[in-house]
Subunit: 340 residues, 2 copies
């Protein structure tokens, strides 16, 4: 089958690799309807994460089940499914407590690869959620977004306790940040302040429900945000970047007793214990437990109440994955979808 | 009046200083019934926190109101009162949201000093809680503990979401850690694992409700704790030390989705963003909003349901404050009370 494979930083090639095969009785194989490139795919693409030889890329997926292992009972061949970017058993104590992304048997789909025609899904019963039927073509981008960016933005908003009466600030205007805005709106937040300086992203933030835009960054962004919140800071802050600057900005933007949900994959970030102590914020985040939210997200999408697929502002065939990566790396695209 | 004053690291003197006077109309002056030395007093005593000239010490207090400013309406001269180690207005948005220790008008009582015969209490209406009457003498240590160590241990347990069905680990066997054990018990925790290697402290931990004791520290302590919790870690972890090692131990002791309440005043602690991200714990702490809990704590003490004053294993007159500091510094005493 055809798959996008990273050979070295900046060197993505679409090439033939072996078709996936059921190994464990809990596996499934799906045929993808669409794939996409994630902000976190850029970390190895940029050489920030190291590479041990050629790596099939991607971890988001929507598609049709082709084959299941002998122990799989929740999904069957022919069903349309969406799943999380982390495969999880669904039965361990951590899964049952709502943290499938830290499942004791978890498999990061990034280690499997899903920018390809087919994908192996470990722990199919715990991981995949069948759709109510075959989706209309225009719903496919929305469903694909649920697999990671929507679920991750949603978790950021939940971790930040976005809700009625609360002012929510979102640091980061990538797809995850923009979908955290959408999530905060759905969760009933009173005011949503998107931190963004890029016109197309600001527009999408407003469309998704942002009430205010702040273009300043770092401590200037914090000062501006405090100005907008009576000097106190936001009740809820979603961090959706993962750098030293964005984490500090997020923590400093929350009021004492406020909640910071951080979902940007942290790279070389160190936090001062003293600052955290005196900030008195709640801090929670990590790889989003997307599977927890999937049934609700699929329902919202199926009923056409949300339109998260709008984050895909570049759609190209899988064979043009190199251009999709370049466009995202150069911030010409918010998020690129790969058609199959 | 007589007061304990720190002149240089290790140099505590009890000497005459000016009596406190009402300055703002929201002030009160109290006559202390008893005072005490806190683990956090040891930071400047040990020279870890720097000193700008002689500093009256102490921030915990129980006593009788002597005089109030013209705007004070909640307490009156003659009333027995307890208050938090942070004076707070009680009316700002942060106070009303349950975080009086981050009140926009807060005054840390450590900047005022309470190891003395009398003390000035700013924001008396927001800070002081009148007792139901004159306490029996044996309740005075319990009420004094409520002012900080009990309230701080309690906040640690609340921030760690200690409660029914949950396994709580407590890192730190000082007075705050021991009282976090007591708090976890009161909050209904199923299992309470105290990390302690000192026999008198272990005994008190068991008396306060610990079900298990782990004497290993650092990563060995983490390994032992995981052994006791099916490899997963505790649901709730209270951190009550404030060092690099104890913070790391606390974070590594919590399971994914678990809660770490950190109340040890952090000094030179840096946390890895990556580790926090993948740990998927909730982290919350800071200077305890003791005032939030005081009415409930006073009630429990008044009804003799809890006995937090047991942490005072050294009782000396105020004039012997130097010995009280030495005994705590050398860990000969868990916590020293100063009689007046």
């Amino acid at each position: 089958m055809r798959a996008a494979v990273l050979h070295a930083p900046g060197d993505i090639r679409v090439e033939e690799i072996a078709d996936p095969k059921i190994i464990a009785p809990t596996d499934a194989v799906i045929r993808l309807t669409a794939a996409c490139v994630c902000g976190s795919d850029l970390w190895p693409y940029r050489g920030v994460e190291s590479l041990d030889g050629p790596m099939p890329m991607g971890h988001e997926y929507v598609g049709v089940v082709e084959e299941v292992g002998s122990d799989v009972t929740n999904v069957q061949p022919g069903q349309y499914v969406v799943g999380s970017f982390v495969a999880s058993c669904g039965t361990c104590e951590i899964c049952r407590s709502g943290y499938p992304s830290s499942c004791v048997h978890r498999v990061f789909m990034a280690q499997v690869g899903t920018q390809s025609e087919r994908a192996l899904i470990p722990h199919a019963d715990g991981t995949l959620v069948p759709l109510p039927g075959t989706p209309d073509a225009d719903l496919v981008p929305d469903l694909l977004a649920a697999s990671d960016v929507l679920g991750t933005g949603w978790f950021g908003a939940v971790a930040a306790e976005a809700g009625p009466g609360r002012t929510v600030a979102v640091v980061g205007d990538g797809a995850v940040g923009l979908l955290a805005v959408l999530a905060a709106r759905q969760l009933g937040a009173e005011r949503i302040i998107a931190m963004s300086r890029h016109e197309p992203r600001r527009r999408l933030a407003l469309e998704f429900g942002a009430t205010d835009i702040v273009s300043e960054r770092g401590d200037e962004g914090v000062a501006k945000l405090k100005e907008l919140t009576g000097g106190l800071g936001a009740h809820s802050v979603v961090e959706a970047v993962g750098t030293q600057e964005s984490m500090q900005q997020a923590i400093r933007s929350a009021r004492p007793g406020g909640h910071v949900g951080f979902v940007g994959v942290n790279h070389d970030v160190t936090l001062s214990g003293e600052e955290l102590f005196f900030s008195q914020v709640h801090l929670h985040g990590g790889p989003a437990p997307v599977r927890r939210f999937l049934p609700e997200l699929i329902d919202l999408i199926w009923q056409r109440k949300i339109n998260p697929g709008k984050v895909f502002d570049l759609v190209v065939p899988l064979d043009e994955a190199p251009e999709a990566y370049r466009a995202m790396d150069e911030r010409r695209a918010i998020k690129a979808m790969l058609t199959l």
